[in-house]
Symmetry: none
Subunit: 353 residues, 2 copies
Amino acid sequence: MIQTLLGQKDFIESLRGKSATFMLALSNTQTVNIEGITQAGIPGMIHLTPTLDSEFICTGEVRSLENIAETPKGVPTPALISRAVHLLNPYHHIELLNLGLEVTPKVAYFKQHTFELTPSASIATGANIDAEALFQKGVNFGQTYSCESDYLILGESVPSGTTTATATTLGLGYSEAKAYFSSSFKDVPNSIREETIASALKNIQNKKDLFEILGTVSDNMLIFNAGFILGLNNRLKVVLAGGTQMACVLLIINSILEYMGGKVESSNLAICTTKWVAEDKNSDIKALLEMLSFPVNAYYANFDFTLSNHPSLKLYDEGEAKEGVGAGGALMYGFLNDLNKEEITRKVEGFLG
Amino acid sequence: MIQTLLGQKDFIESLRGKSATFMLALSNTQTVNIEGITQAGIPGMIHLTPTLDSEFICTGEVRSLENIAETPKGVPTPALISRAVHLLNPYHHIELLNLGLEVTPKVAYFKQHTFELTPSASIATGANIDAEALFQKGVNFGQTYSCESDYLILGESVPSGTTTATATTLGLGYSEAKAYFSSSFKDVPNSIREETIASALKNIQNKKDLFEILGTVSDNMLIFNAGFILGLNNRLKVVLAGGTQMACVLLIINSILEYMGGKVESSNLAICTTKWVAEDKNSDIKALLEMLSFPVNAYYANFDFTLSNHPSLKLYDEGEAKEGVGAGGALMYGFLNDLNKEEITRKVEGFLG
């Protein structure tokens, strides 16, 4: 049920029956306001997506808006998958990382880590992030974070995050990566995304400082999490639950290590994504990870909606949505606790009525 | 599956997947010997009910008597529900609070907390409890109690406990509460209960000291648990698993705080009861809780026996039995761990042969 992309399955096997904290890194980037750049959410309300996703994961309710975030064609947020797994085999804890949101999630009794961050600006005009300070906040958090579970599943919800991740990776000089990035679009809107990325890259043409580059073309989630992982310093097993955005977090770490002449012990680090990302023809997560100078365990959860007839869910299998809100890691956690495809499918269908 | 009566569902949601200690507060009051006052048990043997309930919860066996406690019409104890949930998704620990029992439960390997307490006398003639000392024992226990689980579910088994709870609430001056109390009778035996309560209230006519009042009209479970909750001082998440008796525990706390001029932090406190109590036409748990001067999260487990054809279980849905032995909290715990109505129903039916 869990397929290995890189490294050994032993890492995953060692997590069977272990308790997990499901942590969701949330942020807004104004890149999302470029028309047509993403379909991850309700038109005009896409900035609310991470807020709604986290409310739904924690409580089963969407509080800052009436309906669950859906893309225009009606593909429901992958938060449904992560919540379904939680209902079937609860995560030990759910925690939120508020990395700059327009609207704070309305949940009580769940730990919300805050860092006095505001949404970043559009990368088309310059993200305007103090990347060094943000990275340092991540490092500090990693150094002091006390996990009450056996391991951490780190997911994200950042609308238009694949665009910022692509710009970041290219901006860091991984030029061969251009073709390796996915989007939440089926028909990858190459023109709008490419224009945006081209504008972003133009903004760093004369920049050489790594943090200056990151602060211009990246987003809060990517930069903070790179610091977070480095700050943890391998003392906790972490599964990055995501696709190309989480791969970008690792590439940022890679660049920072190179820039600073450091090394990272990565034996406790893994990434797990969905089958929809792993088999995506418009991106290549494995190739992205193979650019790293340190080893990383990489997996995908062999789950799809072939057992469902629900038209909204069939769209996943048609490539309309692929990953997000920790879905890949959530499915991994489900499989490690003996959930099967049928149970998860039925639970997700239950949300759709 | 879990409905909110007061407060937010977030409290309950934060308990998904968490480990729970199921603690049962047990006591006898000689009020039970007034003929017709309760049907919670076998006629002539009703004092054994808490002993048998706790033996059954822990071991699946009734050791101090041959048959499970049943009411005259054959309604089986709600211990069946709490035990069924334990078999399907075990509580992390089961612990017993012996708060004055005629017969000590015959169980080994389960923690039995004892406090050198004897059953209280009938409230018709005066309960004769040293309430201040008993309350203090509760406070001390709360201050020193070490819970090995993520949260505590606190249930009770006290035959004729709704009568003592009603007398206690009225004795404390919550006069509008008269209509808010349930009994385990369908056809509420107003005459016998009201006579008993009237006698109890006559006994405190000239009393003004809060503890003197409690010592005359209350029972050990109510007074001890009020101290226990205050002693815990919000350092542990606690779900009071019960109906109007647990509401009375909270009203005692409310009166003590008023009496002593103190405050309580109640964010980690909740009460969860059954649907049979929540929808009872002869009582109003929500109205009882709304008399508190501090906020409390309140829920009920949306469970009934509509999936069963067993005549004994149908009696629950007809109002013959409503709550007890932590059934409401047990069902909540079951639902938080993805048990469904069907599974629980079948397991309960399995006990009845």
